[in-house]
């Protein structure tokens, strides 16, 4: 039924210019130089008959989105998944009219509200009450609408006593709760949400997820970008999988998530990308991260060895590894910075990381590795992948319960007696 289509994305592409012409770095001088040089370039071209080098062409182009096409039907809840830099946020920005596409088009039916951040427009000097009205207006709510829902918003956030306190005195939890509460009371026909659930304490996160479920059950059309695959799995009936700006797959969310997870695991077999092409200042690069094997037995210590090579002079720096589970949730991180007095001296170095706890439940894991010192020196996403075997039951856990017992396994025992 074509009448049911409320969002139509057709051949959508978005190109960014990198380098000197990009805004901040552009500067007036280049514009003036360009302006003055233009007639000379023109004269030069018509005399010599050959193309003089054009400054505009020499800038790098970057396609954040390339030829994306999909439809969303009324009442569908669509999750957009993909790695960092896959184009998810750009897609939302184009859909929300914040930035315009380079080519292609988007058709929208009904009132659209987008929520790319909680608390947009919040001003620290203004009171909670004032910020509710301000933020409501920024998100496109009418003044009368905010007034009508005001009590509900305040109750949801649980900040009744602090309504007339400037929000700069709020705890970060209160701030986020109030900001989300305003957003949660938007009543658009199409809602575009970016990762805003990853805020607040777990109790509030649950409240947010419940609210999202309420919104989606109410027949609202929702487009939801998230790193949190479990949230996508539980909220969305459809998903769109983006990779390097292109759409890999769209369909039933469970199938798309499976495909994504499969890709993430399979990518382990691909050769490691050239270190020089990674982001960061590059004075040092991690050339390899070795481990005893790609599978660890549960409850056993894990050991990783990083091979770091110097490429340019620099001062002392730090090394860190961030461990993510198959839902792309960071489970824990290790960092030389956490160890008092420890940093790596410049030069070719080897770092050995020994991890005793936490005990990870069986499953696939990967680690992002960083070298940093004030800024990022090297960022290696997916530096290593490993699996925690399911074969062995872990102290107190059966192999089945271990998989569902949270993000880490505890070293626990229990006793009972009659009282």
């Amino acid at each position: 039924m074509s009448d049911d289509i409320v969002i139509r994305v057709e051949g959508l592409s978005k190109k960014y210019q990198l380098g000197q012409r990009a805004g901040r770095a552009g500067g007036l001088r280049h514009a003036i130089e360009d302006g003055i040089a233009a007639p000379f370039r023109w004269v030069g071209k018509s005399f010599s008959g050959r193309q003089t080098e054009d400054r505009h062409k020499s800038t790098q182009e970057f396609w954040a989105l390339r030829n994306i096409t999909f439809d969303v039907k009324r009442g569908e809840v669509v999750g957009i998944i993909g790695r960092n830099g896959a184009g998810k946020s750009t897609l939302l920005k184009v859909l929300s009219r914040i930035t315009e596409p380079t080519s292609g088009r988007i058709g929208l039916k009904g009132r659209v509200a987008s929520l790319l951040e909680v608390g947009t427009g919040f001003h620290p000097e203004l009171s909670g009450r004032e910020n509710v009205f301000l933020n409501g207006a920024v998100l496109g709510m009418k003044h009368s609408e905010v007034r009508r829902k005001f009590d509900e918003i305040v109750a949801f956030a649980g900040v009744e006593q602090f309504l007339d306190t400037p929000v700069k005195r709020y705890s970060s939890g209160m701030y986020v709760r109030l900001a989300f509460a305003v957003a949660a009371h938007l009543e658009p026909e199409i809602l575009i949400v970016d990762e805003v659930l990853a805020v607040g304490d777990s109790e509030f996160q649950k409240k947010c997820l419940d609210k999202m479920r309420e919104v989606t059950d109410g027949g609202r059309t929702v487009l939801f970008v998230s790193h949190n695959l479990s949230a996508v799995a539980s909220l969305c009936n459809r998903a769109v999988y983006l990779k390097s700006g292109e759409m890999v797959m769209t369909g039933e969310s469970s199938a798309v998530i499976a495909k994504y997870q499969n890709d993430v695991v399979r990518a382990a077999d691909e050769p490691a990308p050239d270190p020089a092409r990674r982001s960061g200042s590059g004075t040092h690069r991690i050339h390899e991260i070795k481990s005893a094997g790609s599978e660890f037995a549960p409850r056993k210590p894990m050991e990783f060895t990083a091979d770091i090579r110097q490429h340019a002079p620099d001062g002392p720096f730090h090394f860190s590894m961030h461990f993510l589970d198959e839902w792309d949730t960071e489970v824990f991180a290790v960092n030389t910075e956490y160890l008092e007095g420890m940093s790596l001296l410049p030069g070719n170095r080897e770092v050995t990381v020994r991890i005793q706890t936490p005990w990870l439940p069986p499953g696939d894991y990967r680690a992002d590795a960083y070298l940093h010192c004030n800024g990022i020196i090297d960022h290696w996403p997916d530096a290593c992948r490993f699996r925690i075997g399911a074969g062995v039951a872990v102290g107190g856990y059966s192999s089945i319960s271990a998989k569902n017992a949270g993000k880490a396994l505890a070293n626990f025992s229990m006793e009972t007696r009659e009282i």
């Binding site: 139509r8 990009a22 439809d71 596409p101 088009r105 058709g107 929208l108 207006a137 496109g140």
Partner: protein
Amino acid sequence: MQSEQNDIAIIDEDSFDRWIEAGHVEKHYWLDLWHYRELFFILAWRDVAVRYKQTVAGTAWALLQPLLTMIIMTVIFGKVAGLPSMGDAPYAIMVFAALLPWQFFSNALSASGQSVVSNRDMISKVYFPRIIVPAGSVLVSLVDFLISLVILAALMIWYHFPPVWNLLYLPLFMVMAMIAAMGAGLVLTALTVQYRDFRILVPFIVQFGLYVSPVALSLEQIRSKISPELFYIFCLNPLVFVIEGFRWCVLGGEFRLLEPPMLVSFAVSFLLLAAGISYFRKTERSFADVI
């Protein structure tokens, strides 16, 4: 699946409320602007509220700035340099009648120039017609202007200077001041987003403007000192006749305004506004990318 692209459903294009396309000119630009009128007022209200919460003296700042400028100018130009006033009006009132629109204009220009850059977080996260940000700055400057009218009243009481009926025309000249401020402000705002150099240039432009506006001197005195050609060039400054109009409203006197130089000056205002709106509209779509 990839195959979905091929058998994409046929749709009725007109049934969609909005199509977002590259280079797409918003068909209902002004209607869209009308929908966002509440945000326009609330942003202006925020700027006023924040200023009065953050500063100790609050409202007093809006009063002190023009008052002190007037006192300094009266002492330096009126007493020390001995510049004449107009007719029998006290020099202080003559200067203040000119300072009112001038300060409105310079405040509006500086504030709107910075406005988009200082609201960058909002612009990169939410859609709204970007024009409401600089327009809000002009509105805030208007609030300051209204507050400083109090000083004018106090001055007139102090000098026993009775108001004249011409005062009723003041809003007319205020509208002209707003048109000039809005036009110049929009051009500068769009330029500041693209080239941050203008953050440094704007204060200079404002400072320079004071010297090419008839604030310390009356227009008649300037006219008598320079050649007619130069006088026409002087009248390209859109503020010349706004200031002259303000003086006529406050001090009274002969109506010598509807002359070709005034039409030139006001034509410049309207041209600035038209140029400002069209340049702003052309660049605002890429604000989020370059900001």
